[in-house]
Symmetry: C2
Subunit: 122 residues, 2 copies
């Protein structure tokens, strides 16, 4: 196990990603996945049956909600409550860390051309 005992830099991993809106699983805490993603533009309006945490590693993320927007600067986080329809938007390239239960579907209740199955997030 010696070679597994190394630290990870979520910011560095996010920075290295080639594809936008394609989360990469970087760890697991029991039934929860830790992921990073590189995003720009908009994903899709959707909701999940689970809570979803967004933490901005670099850049700025806007989370559009049905009656409000949340603006996240670098180092800020927001937890979208389960069931809340939301749409993440980044006007410029943004690197994020995501925390969500393993059962969470990428675009929740909708399928779009940006939807990435969990098998493709490894």
């Amino acid at each position: 196990m010696g070679h597994m005992k190394s630290s990870l830099s979520p910011a560095e991993i996010a920075s290295s990603l080639k594809e936008l809106w394609t989360p990469r699983i970087i760890g697991e805490v029991d039934d929860t996945y830790i992921k990073v993603a590189k995003v720009q533009g908009t994903l899709a309006w959707h909701s999940h049956e689970e809570d979803e945490l967004f933490y901005v590693l670099k850049g700025h993320l806007r989370i559009e909600l049905e009656n409000d927007n949340v603006e996240l600067a670098e180092g800020e986080m927001y937890i979208v409550p389960k069931g809340a329809r939301h749409n993440p938007v980044a006007d410029e390239e943004c690197h994020i860390l995501l925390i969500e239960r393993k059962t969470t579907l990428h675009t929740g209740d909708v399928i779009t051309d940006k939807t990435v199955a969990i098998e493709k997030q490894r």
Copy 2:
């Protein structure tokens, strides 16, 4: 709910804490707590029945393990696997973010004068 739709800065909250080694719950993602803590010195050797993620917001953290140490610089993370005995150490003041299942006990299988019950982490 309008007033709840605000972003949080884990680094700012950690920085504001007065007591060392006293995690503050700042959010929940289903059955998982997101916490921050201000630490310096050493906690205690212990283990949990759950995985535990450490992410360094500021400073430097060393996680002593039974056969190895993990050194975490700012922006780096490590997940202590369930059952692994570990001891977090910070030579200087360090601010961390923790991700762990809600059932996780602060110092796991041991009780020390630094142990903080979950009710005191709110």
